[in-house]
Symmetry: C2
Subunit: 243 residues, 2 copies
């Protein structure tokens, strides 16, 4: 059985303030926990699983601290509507932003919806983009909803928060592509091996002061009447044409 | 002020059973209601708006029945966390499935998540695809969450439910493209002017018995380690390469 203080501690990690103080986040469900353990077991601090899951994953768990808990205790600490066998407390990423040279980087300007941010991280992982830079006003990557919608890709994609205007200004020599509504037809562009791809806020797009730092403006041609595409869908389409 | 029976009636439309009995659905917020009125005012049965919204939209409302209500009443009938000025009761689509010849049709096999279904309808609208066919086990298009995530595209895209296996079998002569994990590279394919594009369930993909009806299997090349893409993102990528 879990002691009350432990339950309270894990519950508190639903809030950004407590997550950041402890330098950890929560990941739930067999898929995400397994991906995190496979990618780098040293990042996984504690695993709380039901008997069946712990027994099936002894090998993968290795040296990682793990506690067998009841379904009832899992319900108490879970942030999911339907708790799913296992919950892990994981260390937040350490290390700073990597230089944008010689790779493709996604730069997100104020993505607000946790589901969109998680889905974008999953898309980055699909297209082999290992680094996502978020403006300081973006949704928190450690929000449980973001972590869940990455479907495990959070284990492989590094996500950093920074003053995006300042960061972009420091990346001279690397092409910056802005996804806008009135740019070059993305389906006609050549594939790239390096560059920064800017994705804007769900309703406001990319702010003018960030936009002026871009070298190329790209657009997904609109053949119908919808005014815009979902930010994650647009990211997927742009990456599939450019990479 | 709205009478109690009216409030109860509108609240009941959150449930499929009552929506289908009445042959209507609910759309909320200025954007979606405006798009529906612009596309075909005859489909909009009743509009409930706050004073400010009704006054600003007198012209657009024209002959459409409308009732000015208080914020308090709007809160009572709204299905949104933050009610947004106006709610409309709209007639469900009438008319049957159109033939797949000479156009592009999206066919969805058991898409379960309402947000995904709504986003796919928005994507169809962006790419000028006017018709979406859903298997009978797909999410209900008239679910308020689906309607909201179409962002108004529900006004322009026709969505039908049918026995998809039977329907596909009747479409001889039209190419059927299945989106799978081991098909032809979508980025290398020629654009098409007609055809049916199959999108599978979020976790199970397309069932074998439907898959055998496809002429072409297409895939979005995976350059990283994610196991799959979100169904809506995959739809957007496939349409951007094929259309």
């Amino acid at each position: 059985m879990l002691v009350k203080s432990k339950i309270k501690y894990i519950q508190s990690l639903g809030q950004k303030k407590f997550r950041d103080e402890a330098g950890v986040f929560i990941a739930e469900g067999p898929k995400i926990v397994q991906e995190l353990l496979k990618a780098d077991p040293s990042t996984v601090k504690e695993v709380y699983g039901v008997k069946e899951w712990i027994n099936e994953n002894k090998k993968l768990l290795g040296q990682t601290g793990n506690v067998e808990i009841s379904e009832t205790d899992l319900e108490k600490i879970s942030h999911l509507k339907t708790p799913n066998k296992v919950l892990a407390v994981v260390n937040q990423f350490s290390g700073g932003v990597i230089d944008a040279k010689d790779r493709i980087t996604l730069a997100l300007c104020d993505i607000q919806d946790p589901g969109n941010l998680g889905t974008i991280i999953r898309i980055a992982d699909w297209f082999g983009v290992g680094q996502v830079i978020c403006s300081e006003d973006s949704a928190d990557v450690y929000n449980p909803k973001v972590i869940q919608s990455t479907m495990g890709s959070i284990a492989r994609v590094k996500v950093f928060y920074t003053d995006i205007k300042k960061w972009l200004s420091d990346q001279r020599g690397t092409n910056i592509y802005a996804t806008v509504l009135d740019g070059e037809d993305i389906t006609q562009m050549k594939k790239i091996k390096q560059g920064i791809i800017l994705i804007g806020n769900e309703s406001k797009g990319i702010s003018p002061e960030i936009l002026q730092l871009a070298n190329d403006r790209v657009t997904i041609p609109n053949k119908g009447k919808a005014e815009s595409l979902n930010a994650a869908v647009a990211t997927g389409i742009v990456l599939s044409h450019l990479t």
